[in-house]
Symmetry: C2
Subunit: 227 residues, 2 copies
């Protein structure tokens, strides 16, 4: 039951959870097919993924929504709250600080830091921007477990070093650069520019395949796809 969950499944569990959370409150059961439609995946995938949790659905009926929500939260470690610190208090950092810590999310932003003295002291949501030097203190006192890097690329490695030094070993990196960290520290890059470039690839490709137009090979306001 607590067999190693495949990475691909771990990446989808948050998706299922969000679909389940958005469900009507009176919905008690859901089939793999219906959940698959909501999550934009296949039903077989849903069943295989959920089977990893040791959560048993009911044959002929489906899964108990409430139970399923709990099982996924449990598997993801969302039965407790994790402290998050954000480094970089520009627009992005401020957006992420508000975005991440909403009540009930399982995450609480406990610190927002910036290297620029001109920004330090600014109130953001319920927090005040602090100097990066205070990172170790805050992270330690508040028991922060996750760090978010929202600095320019040029400061990202330094931010990562500070986070690691403060005992944080899970990092979300929004800066458009790779960072190096000691073994045992997990970094997940989130990169706008790379995403745009991948979109560019597909635009470029479909522009070449037939349609000679300027990059809008779709003129088909047809079916709103799945459900």
């Amino acid at each position: 039951m607590t067999r190693p969950i495949p990475p691909a499944t771990v990446e989808r569990l948050p998706l299922y959870l969000r679909c389940l959370e958005d469900l009507a409150p009176d919905r008690e059961q859901i089939s793999s097919r219906d959940l698959a439609a909501l999550a934009h995946v296949t039903a077989a995938k849903v069943r295989k993924d959920l089977a990893c949790l040791g959560t048993y659905g009911v044959r002929g009926k489906g899964y108990a929504v409430q139970r399923l929500r709990f099982e996924i939260r449990f598997a993801l470690g969302l039965t407790r709250e994790w402290g998050v610190v954000v480094v970089g208090a520009g627009n992005l950092g401020r957006a992420l600080a508000g975005y991440a810590g909403f009540p009930g999310s399982g995450f609480a932003v406990v610190g927002l830091f910036d290297a620029d003295p001109g920004v330090v002291g600014t109130p953001v949501g319920g927090l005040t921007v602090e100097p990066v030097d205070r990172l170790p203190d805050v992270a330690g006192d508040e028991g922060a477990a996750i760090g978010v890097i929202a600095t320019p690329a040029s400061s990202a490695q330094e931010a990562a070093d500070r986070l690691v030094a403060a005992g944080i070993c899970s990092i979300l990196n929004f800066a458009p650069t790779l960072i190096s960290v000691p073994e045992g520290v997990e970094v997940r890059p989130v990169d706008l520019s790379s995403e745009l470039r991948v979109l560019s690839f597909h635009l470029h490709r479909s522009a070449s395949d037939g349609a000679p137009s300027r990059g809008q090979p779709c003129d088909d306001p047809s079916s709103s796809s799945d459900s």
Copy 2:
């Protein structure tokens, strides 16, 4: 040479390109091993990926940096500039508008929209926030090809519908919800809350495996990993 490039390779090309762009200007050659170290991947992967481009390296020497940069840009469709419109002018939207359109990126933000009349008219960078109703006009006039959704989840589907109606078929969705679009429209979700939840999974897991501490199983300030 223009054989279908595997999706996994497409996702890595922007990474290689960024590494090449960050290289010292006088660097003329680079081996697959060195590029692999910079990109945090394996050398075999680099060679297989680059072979897809029909870009030939020089045996015994490596790849010509300049040439390689051009080939990757070409493959990604970055030899021209793509117009980008951003829907949602909160902190996130403003951050993305500045982030995406910097000169030389291959992208130009041509419009920033918001449904809130209180925000419309605000200057952001070189742009002014416009009402969403103007989206079709601006997207048409400026030839925008990519849309970025930076609205709350509750408005994301509507934003997507407006983008599609305006003829845009490549969407980057930063809202924490799935959106449905007609076939032929590509959507890439970028989701902070899911990323945090995946990090939570790993924290949770390593906290269970041995270390009884509060979620910081790493106390190992050892090697700064690879190269």
